[in-house]
Amino acid sequence: MTTLTLGKALNMGLRKAMEDDPKVVLMGEDIGKLGGVFRITDGLQKDFGEDRVVDTPLAEAGILGTAVGLAMRGYRPVCEIQFDGFVFPAYNQIVTQVAKIHARSRGRLPMPIVIRIPFGGGIGAVEHHSESPEAYFAHTAGLKVVAVATPADAYFGIQQAIASPDPIVFLEPKRRYWEKADVDTDATPDPLFRSRVLRAGDDLTLLAYGPMVKTALQAATAAEDEGRSIEVVDLRTLSPLDLDAVYESVRRTGRCVVVHEAPTTLGLGAEIAARVTETCFHSLEAPVLRVGGYDTPYPPSKLEEDYLPDLDRVLDAVDRSMGF
């Protein structure tokens, strides 16, 4: 058992994956000597060399496009996108190529590519550094999308993602990079594409992923003081969604709230609301409520506290749900 920050857990997970499989190649901007702007790849170029930790030219389409070629040649590229808002130059390669080549080739060309994206806000940054683009990827068939919330999931999740034969958008909650927890690196991890109930409860099912998991847990604790018993689920996988435990939970609680930072319209909450309602229709005592970012661009940092879902907004949604 070691105490690790989420960032360090990723670093160790990457190192382990590189040791286990010589075909793993890291690519990205500033990931070499600098170790990435968040130091997630710290020390890896020094130990594995410039052929396995590639400081690329400043071009995200280039990173993803060459990753496709490397994958065709049997490599397992792990691409770092420096910040969420800079994934869009690579969007064409991700959506029209990475996501489609397995289907196009009828399985002859697997695309075991991991796209690491530090995502979400709350770090006081300038424009494009605090976004939550997950819905764009979860709507794209051919991709899988996961979001980690804890050091342990970060450590194991990055290894599982790299070992997976499919392209995976791997979302890292950047504002939680410095948060610590115990990690048992010898444990047998949960499967990657599985949600997890973090806290049992009877009155309402609260769903979150990535940076909002902590907020959801805090909300559940606060609600407890008011005598409300909230079940908290960390979704972990955004595509495919793993909602069986959620359905089971909602059938018991009759109420459901989903939290994410991304703009609410067509955010993950929309899909989850639609599915939960379709599956648990007769059990629902209130509509599934969503707590998300507003349908606006991410604001200047002085306004991000107003923009982001927080404890109070989650509790407000809980109240509204209970009021139905």
């Binding site: 052929d51 029209t96 080739s105 495919p240």
Partner: protein
């Protein structure tokens, strides 16, 4: 006078004049590699020598003639409603066969959607190309076994794939190179320019083979570049060369040299094969809307097959019997393609679900099951 006034000479310095499009047609000079004139005469180029046996020359002719025959048959099949669309290679046979024949077995080709001639030289079954244009699949051949990637429709995207593949070759220490095909229009895509940057930066063993067929659908080359395309490369730090794309020998020689250079570790090359799309962009296109018939007539005089035929005949390398035999082989091929296309069975509906992921997801498993159940529910009705 300042340095800025030493502007590069441009193709058409007056923007937006809407002058009739007259592609410049270089046919000599050291900047234009030609080994066989339009009249079929062998000429020498100071930088490119080529040793070809008579046998090889005949076999090149055979490739050119057969891919043209295939193309004619495919166009006819499309007209008859048997293909959704067809992208003709008419006029570009030499560029494609020359480039394809330059490849060594371990090299990998990254075609656009028009490189049937390249596919042919690599042994891809034409029916595996036909199935794509029929709408059965997205290319039926095995890219790994044939050394020909599947066709890529999004303009230019494959140039980055080729560059990444070349990075893989580099890491493997393989004695092989990647050959990325692209059109003149594709040179304007950001991703293509990124591929040039990456290839240069990483000294990747990749050759960019640009068929400048003068048009991107209706848009003439002048809209994409005011200077010859092969000049693009030097600004990125590697050599560019312009070759007569209707001269199969010159294309073979230039591409071979570039691939050898790449395999040796000397980095990328950009080849501009100067050619002409003699047909429509695809069977959906109507070129009379944007180009003059006279232009086509001029280019017919540079026909890539006629010139090799003239050379073979004049030099006594092939006789009428040989040409007749190739024609007969072409007709057989056409029959095989026609019959094979007509006999293709439609794909099963479940194909929609079966290759999206290497590890199937529960969501798709469920959608597949629903699909099967839904279709089964109609069984009785038929």
């Amino acid at each position: 006078m300042t340095a800025l006034e030493h502007a590069t000479e441009v193709v058409d310095p007056v923007p937006g004049t809407g002058a009739p499009h007259l592609p410049e047609q270089p046919d000599s000079g050291p900047e234009f590699v030609q080994l066989l004139t339009p009249e079929g005469e062998r000429v020498e180029h100071p930088d490119y020598a080529i040793d070809v046996t008579d046998e090889e020359l005949r076999s090149l002719y055979r490739d050119l003639a057969l891919v043209r025959r295939w193309d004619v048959e495919a166009t006819a099949l499309q007209r008859q409603g048997e293909l959704g669309i067809w992208a003709s290679l008419l006029g570009q046979e030499a560029a494609q066969v020359g480039a394809g024949r330059a490849l060594a077995p371990d090299d990998m080709a990254f075609p656009t959607y028009r490189e049937h001639g390249v596919a042919w030289t690599r042994g891809v079954d034409p029916l595996h190309v036909m199935s794509l244009f029929r709408g059965n699949d997205m290319g039926g051949w095995d890219p790994v076994a044939t050394g020909v990637n599947l066709y890529t429709v999004v303009i230019g995207a494959q140039t980055l794939h080729a560059t990444g593949y070349a990075m893989g070759l580099q890491r493997d220490g393989a004695d092989a190179a990647a050959l990325a095909f692209l059109g003149d229009g594709a040179t304007s895509q950001g991703e293509v320019n990124e591929a040039l940057i990456w290839a240069a930066s990483l000294s990747a063993p990749v050759v960019f083979f640009c068929q400048n067929n003068q048009y991107a659908i209706s848009v003439p080359i002048e809209r994409q570049s005011r200077v010859p395309l092969y000049q693009r490369a030097s600004g990125f730090g590697f050599p560019g060369v312009r070759v007569d794309g209707n001269d199969v020998l010159a294309v073979l020689a230039v591409t071979r040299a570039a691939l050898a250079r790449a395999r040796e570790g000397s980095g990328p090359t950009f080849i501009e094969a100067f050619t002409y799309r003699m047909g429509a962009h695809t069977t959906s296109d109507d070129p009379t809307r944007y180009r003059m018939a006279s232009e086509l007539e001029e280019w017919k005089l540079r026909d890539p097959i006629a010139r090799l035929k003239a050379h073979l005949a004049r030099a006594g390398i092939a006789d009428a019997a040989f040409f007749d035999a190739v024609d007969a082989e072409g007709d057989e091929l056409a029959v095989r393609i026609r019959t094979g296309t007509l006999e293709m069975t439609d794909p099963a509906g479940t194909e929609i679900f079966d290759h999206v992921y290497a590890e199937q997801t529960p969501d798709l498993e469920r959608q597949r099951a629903e699909f099967v159940a839904y279709h089964a529910s109609f069984e009785g009705e038929k």
